[in-house]
Symmetry: C2
Subunit: 350 residues, 2 copies
């Protein structure tokens, strides 16, 4: 019986078993993208759908560690800044652990589903007139000035938990050539790199996959090598102008012979639509940047033939349905409950 990633990967995670707080996170599907392979000929493509974690994003991987460690260290409260996914995870694991949870989110820049989660799990929510980077500054200060534990990815245990996704990939596939992922605060690219390196050291992997990170064009500080004071993208989860793990991201890219590139909101929405309509996978916009990035890299000739590629889908599409409702074409037919009318409507399209 699967009981969460700390128990599965205990060799790589230092936690006293009696403090484990888990929702059986991890163990997420790796879905073969056969329809996408027909478009990008000669590449074997998989989708790591981390949106099927318990709170709907990859953040649960780090949060099981951060909250277990907070209990082990006898903390009574946790705090995070968040574009939404971190707050949902912190609120859920915090509730389960009976800790007080405070989340600071940017006013009006958080997807509704994520806000609903923080409400449902009972967190204290502070919405500030500022962006994620501003929120993180306050969180860093208060965690230094009080006994409240910060659970953003600057908390080292978060990265420890998140690295397990790299283990799962290699346990499933044995090896891969390219790994495509969104880059926001840059904690996740740091975590994957750490995970792959630990497996390399243990001879479970022969060669590091090339890490291809992608930022949204309107929030691409690492690509442009400058802080973005007012980042702006439809991909709210990566709407970050001054990534906390900037240097570590650069190191991960360098050591893995990877790259970092910027993707437009239009390209993100195209990938969002393609994933749902071709593969039957509904992922949140920020997630889809990994597929948009693969398409761009493929078209630029950067992906070798016959290589094996994994695109990371970090969050569930249900987190942010406004993006769907506002950007996808649809036409709902409203009819009376009249079989003749219904039949006519159905058959005319077939």
């Amino acid at each position: 019986m699967y009981e969460g990633l700390i128990k599965r990967y205990k060799k790589y995670l230092d936690v006293d078993e009696k403090y484990i707080v888990s929702l059986n996170e991890g163990n997420t599907p790796l879905i073969r993208a056969k329809n996408l392979e027909k478009i990008l000929d000669g590449v074997e493509i998989y989708l790591k759908y981390d949106g099927l974690n318990p709170t709907g994003s990859f953040k649960d991987r780090g949060m099981t560690m951060a909250v277990s460690k907070a209990l082990e260290e006898n903390k009574k409260a946790i705090i995070c800044a968040s574009t939404g996914n971190t707050s949902a995870a912190a609120a859920a694991y915090g509730a389960r652990a009976k800790l007080k949870v405070i989340v600071i989110v940017p006013d009006e820049k958080i997807a509704k589903g994520k806000l609903a989660q923080a409400i449902a799990y009972g967190a204290k929510i502070i919405a500030i007139k500022g962006n994620f980077d501003d929120a993180l500054e306050s969180v860093k200060k208060i965690s230094q000035e009080s006994d409240i534990q910060m659970v953003n990815s600057l908390n080292k245990y978060r990265i420890e938990g998140q690295k397990t996704a790299a283990f799962e990939l290699i346990d499933d596939l044995k090896e891969l050539d390219y790994f495509m992922l969104p880059v926001g605060n840059a904690g996740n690219i740091t975590a994957y790199h750490k995970g792959f390196k630990e497996y390399l050291k243990d001879d479970k992997l022969k060669k590091l996959p090339r890490l291809f990170g992608f930022q949204a064009k309107g929030a691409s500080p690492i690509v442009e090598n400058k802080v973005f004071k007012n980042p702006k993208t439809i991909a709210t989860a990566i709407n970050i102008g001054n990534p906390a793990s900037w240097d570590k991201a650069l190191n991960a890219i360098d050591e893995s012979d990877g790259q970092i590139d910027a993707i437009t909101d239009e390209e993100i929405l195209n990938a969002y639509n393609l994933l749902a309509k071709e593969e039957g996978v509904f992922a949140e916009p920020a997630s889809c940047i990994s597929v948009a990035g693969l398409i761009k890299s493929y078209n630029e000739g950067k992906i070798k033939k016959n290589s094996k590629v994994v695109c990371l889908l970090t969050g569930n599409g249900l987190k942010d349905i406004d993006v769907c409702m506002n950007n996808m074409d649809f036409d709902i037919k409203n009819l009376d409950d009249d079989y003749a009318l219904i039949k006519e409507e159905i058959l005319k399209d077939l």
Copy 2:
């Protein structure tokens, strides 16, 4: 590497491998509910969180079978009536299989997240002025009069796929005493019963778990033994007045020494709140009836001490966030980005 429930349980599912359409559904977490156990003393409680299936509900289990079989039988289009979850699953698997998908939903009685999914996956959506039962009548007729395959649970392959959830429970727990689940159209209780019986026959299980089914008070035709012409409950996924598998549900309850009971919307909302705030699990309202039902049954003395109980959570809370926003107490603090103010707000509650 896990590749979906048809491959995992191929001994029990008759599908030609080359037609399999899968999103790696199934293999969902079984979460120990330790905080709930503190409230319901002397009972071992688990939550089967089927809301972590690829489209966010248990419907994916049946849909992988129904759509694979539709391909095997050379169908070009599928159709379903739906309160929302079935349409999301049909649209996703249909998209992946390159089939035309038509969904008929009750006008204004479908959760927004579910509608967004059908839109995202590209289904043709017909909203009728009527309820689920009306929609199902039209679907039955058109599937008889044309070559369009019905994928509601009257399609026998749906039940075949859904029975695998029973296998997973027994593979994880070896045995259990009570199984609590929502009852809407009654396909799922039929499926679990079939699954448990097949494992019993194969000596993988010693004794059938007692099936405790729950309907919402405003949509409780089986409990009241009468059709509900205008069913009404906050739990939209089970807002059904004339269940298609009525007789099979009664048989499942009878053979397993189970019961069926009605639960008020207020009790459902209490369980919804409790699950999120105590266990960190955000499930859709209809799901929470299994926990509300356990609480009611426990209080009525129907649950033996030291027994092992599983509550089924059929869908993800993100499917219907309006219920959260409209029914849960919350108070978001809007502040300027001023550290002194933020600090004061945080510390005053600790």
